[in-house]
Symmetry: C2
Subunit: 399 residues, 2 copies
C-alpha cells in the first residue's frame, strides 16, 4: 500500500493541471491560436530584456564553480540584502535580512512555512474562493483546513465569520491579495479589520496567530492603485513571495519567505523554517536565479500589458451580458457561470474552445476563472466564442 | 508552539552545514587557500564548457516565454526521452519515460519518493554509515528509520542482519553506491545478495519492498571500474538521481526519479510520486536546467581530476600512517580517527585548519569524512597538516 493521501492526489490531478494538459493536446489538434486557453496562470508576456541580459552576463562572466555551487540553505547573503532593502523602499516594511529564506517559488514558500508552524491538528484558515493548493499543503503538514466565506458581490472575507472561526487551535490564516481567482485587492479598511480581529484573538487565547501573506501578484495592481502590505497592519506576518509572475519566470522556481521584523518569536520561527526546508528536501533555492534576483529584483514585467487585457476583456464580457467581478489586480477574472453547475458551464464553453476553470476548484459554486495572462489578440479572437456561449444559454432560456 | 520537529532540526543544523559555515568564516579570516575545507561535497571542478555554452545558447536563442514557462509537474517530455535513452545506453536498464519525474535534485528525489511510499509507521532501512539527511527525510514522512550496520573493514552492508531487520512493515531500503561517506562501490555479488534477500522477504510478507537507489555519484567511479546498476538486479528499484556532482551544478537543483520498468505497480507508484511532489510544493523542476539536461545529459565533468585527487590523497594518508578505506567511487575518504571520540579528533584537526566531518554524523563512531572534491594544490598543501595531526597523537601516546 503506497501513501494513501498522495496516491489519491496523484490520481486526481488538479482541475487546473488537467485543463492545462487538455489544452496542450487540443492545441496540437487544431493549432495554438484556435484554442482560447484561459486555464493556467502561465504568463504569455516575456521576462524583461534586462533579465535575459543579466542571465547571460552572469553565466559568461562568473567563475562557474562559484556560480553553480551550493549556497547556504537560506540563500546568498548579498541577495537577501537586496530583497530586504527593496521591501523597505517599496512598502516601508522592515524584515530582518538574517531571517530571509530564499525558496523554489511560492508553493515552496507556503509548504515550508506551514510545516514550520503546524503541529498535528493545528488549524489554518483559508478564504473561499481560495487557491486549491492551499488545502493540499495544509493537509500534507497535518493541519486542519478551516474555510472562511467571502461576502458577495465584493468577494472580500466575511469578517463576522472570521471572528467566529478562530479558536485556541488556530495557527494562522492565509491571505492572498490581490486574490487568485477573483483579482480582488484587500484595501486599508479590510486589512485593518483583519488585524484587529487577529490581535484580539491572540490576546484571548495567548497564542500567536500568523498571517501568511501569499503575494506573488502584489506588483500586478491596476488603475494606479497601490498595494497595502499586510505586514504594515499586522505584526505576525509571514511574507511568502515568488518572482513567477512579476518577472515572468514561473518555471524557474524562485521566491522567498520574509519575516516581519515585529514577529515576536522571529528568530525561533526562522529556525523552524530552516528545519522545515531541510526536512522537505529543498537544500537551497536555485543559485543562478538567486544571483539573478540580486540584479533584477525591481525590474518588473510591463504591467500595462495586463491592465490592457483586463480593460478590454472586462468591458467585452460586461457588454455581452456576463456578470463579472471587476479585478483590481492579478490576472484573473471571475465570471458568473450561466447555470448553477459550473462544471457544466465550462464543459459547454469547451465546445467554443474556451478553456476556463470551474469555481468549485476554488471552493465556491457557480463561477469560472479566466486567466487573462495571454496575448491580447487571443482575447480579441475569443470574444466571438464568449458571445456564442452566452447566446446558447439565452436561447435555451427562451425555448 | 511552532512545529516541534522542524524547530529542533533548525536549531541544530547538520554538522556538515555547521562546518561549512565555520569554514566560510575562517576563510574570511585567514584566506581561502589556508583553510583545508574537506567538509562538504561542493565540487571545486567547473561544469564542462559545453554546459556553460548550452546554457547561454538556450537563453539567447529560445523565446523567453517558452523557455521560462511552467512545465508539466513531472517535467518536459522531450527531456524525459533523452534521460530514458541514455539510461538504457549506459546501464541497459529500461525505465518508462512516462514514469519519469524531474526534480529539484537528489534530496527532492528522495523526499518525494519517501512521501509517495510511506504510510505512518512504515519502516525504511538505511545502511550505516549513511548520509545524515536520510533519517530526517524518513522521519518527516512519518516513517520509522531502521539502521543496518556495515561489515568492517569492507564497509559493505551486513547481509545477515539485513535479513533479520526486514518485517511486514518494511517499505524499502535506501542504497547509495558508491557510498557517501566511504566511497565504497557495491559490486555484482553484493547487489545479487541484496536482491535475493529482498525478493525472498517480499514473498514471505506479500508486500512490495522498494530499493531506493540514491545514485548521484554513479558516474564518479575510478580504476576503470563500471557501475553495476541496482535496477539490473532488483525489479522494485526506484532511481533517485541528481546532476549536482556529475555536471558540477550542485546549487542549481536538478535531478530525477525514474522507475524501473519491472516495478509491478509502476503506474500507481508514479501517481503517488506526482501527488507527493505536488503536496510538498515542488510544482516543477527548474525549467532552464531541464532543457539544459536535454542537451548535456552525458557531458560529464572530467572524472580524472577526482581520480587524481583520490590517488594522491589516499597514498599520502597511508604513508603518514592513517588507516583509511580505499574509495572506488564518489569523492570521499573515510579515515579512522586517531582516538575513539571522532568529535575530539576533528576538533584537534581544526587547529591545523583541517576541516573534516566526524563519523557520528553518519551513524558510526571513530571515523571522519574527507570530501576531496577540492583543487589538488589544496590537498597537496594540506598534507603537512595531516602529518602534524598524526604526530600530535603519536607524541601523546609516547608521553
Amino acid at each position: 500500500m503506497l501513501n494513501k493521501a498522495n496516491l489519491e492526489l496523484g490520481m486526481s490531478p488538479s482541475m487546473i493541471r488537467r485543463l492545462f494538459e487538455y489544452s496542450k493536446k487540443r492545441k496540437e489538434e487544431i493549432g495554438e491560436n484556435n484554442v482560447f486557453d484561459f486555464s493556467i496562470g502561465n504568463p504569455a508576456f516575456k521576462t524583461p530584456d534586462k533579465v535575459t541580459n543579466e542571465l547571460i552576463d552572469l553565466i559568461k562572466n562568473t567563475d562557474p564553480v562559484v556560480l553553480h555551487s551550493y549556497s547556504s540553505s537560506s540563500g546568498i547573503d548579498s541577495v537577501k540584502k537586496v530583497i530586504n532593502n527593496n521591501l523597505y523602499k517599496k512598502y516601508q516594511i522592515n524584515v530582518d535580512e538574517k531571517c530571509l529564506y530564499l525558496t523554489c517559488g511560492a508553493a515552496a514558500s507556503l509548504t515550508i512555512s506551514l510545516h514550520a508552524l503546524i503541529n498535528e491538528g493545528d488549524e489554518i484558515i483559508i478564504i473561499a474562493p481560495y487557491f486549491p493548493e492551499y488545502k493540499i499543503f495544509i493537509e500534507n503538514a497535518h493541519g486542519k483546513v478551516v474555510i472562511l466565506d467571502s461576502e458577495i458581490p465584493s468577494f472580500l472575507p466575511n469578517l463576522v465569520n472570521l471572528e467566529k472561526l478562530i479558536n485556541e487551535k488556530t495557527k494562522g490564516i492565509i491571505i492572498n491579495s490581490p486574490v487568485n481567482p477573483t483579482g480582488v485587492l484587500y484595501k486599508d479598511e479590510t486589512l485593518k479589520q483583519i488585524a484587529d480581529i487577529l490581535n484580539k484573538k491572540q490576546k484571548e487565547y495567548h497564542n500567536n496567530i500568523y498571517l501568511l501573506s501569499d503575494e506573488p501578484y502584489r506588483e500586478l495592481i491596476y488603475d494606479g492603485l497601490s498595494y497595502p502590505h499586510p505586514a504594515s497592519y499586522y505584526d505576525n506576518t509571514i511574507i511568502c513571495y515568488s518572482y513567477s509572475k512579476s518577472l515572468s519566470l514561473p518555471g524557474e522556481r524562485i521566491g522567498y519567505i520574509a519575516l516581519n521584523d515585529k514577529i515576536e518569536n522571529k528568530q525561533e520561527l526562522f529556525y523552524a523554517i530552516c528545519g522545515s526546508g531541510r526536512a522537505l528536501g529543498f537544500v537551497c533555492a536555485p543559485v543562478l536565479f538567486q544571483r539573478l534576483i540580486e540584479r533584477v529584483d525591481t525590474n518588473l514585467v510591463d504591467i500595462n500589458l495586463y491592465q490592457d487585457n483586463r480593460d478590454y476583456l472586462y468591458h467585452e464580457l460586461i457588454n455581452i451580458g456576463y456578470e463579472v467581478v471587476k479585478p483590481e489586480g492579478a490576472f484573473y477574472i471571475f465570471i458568473k457561470a450561466l447555470e448553477d453547475d459550473s462544471y457544466n458551464f465550462i464543459k459547454k464553453a469547451l465546445k467554443y474552445e474556451l478553456i476556463m476553470v470551474p469555481s468549485d476548484s476554488f471552493g465556491v459554486k457557480g463561477y469560472a476563472r479566466i486567466a487573462y495572462c495571454v496575448k491580447k489578440d487571443l482575447i480579441e479572437k475569443s470574444i466571438e466564442s464568449f458571445k456564442k456561449l452566452y447566446l446558447e444559454y439565452k436561447e435555451k432560456r427562451n425555448e
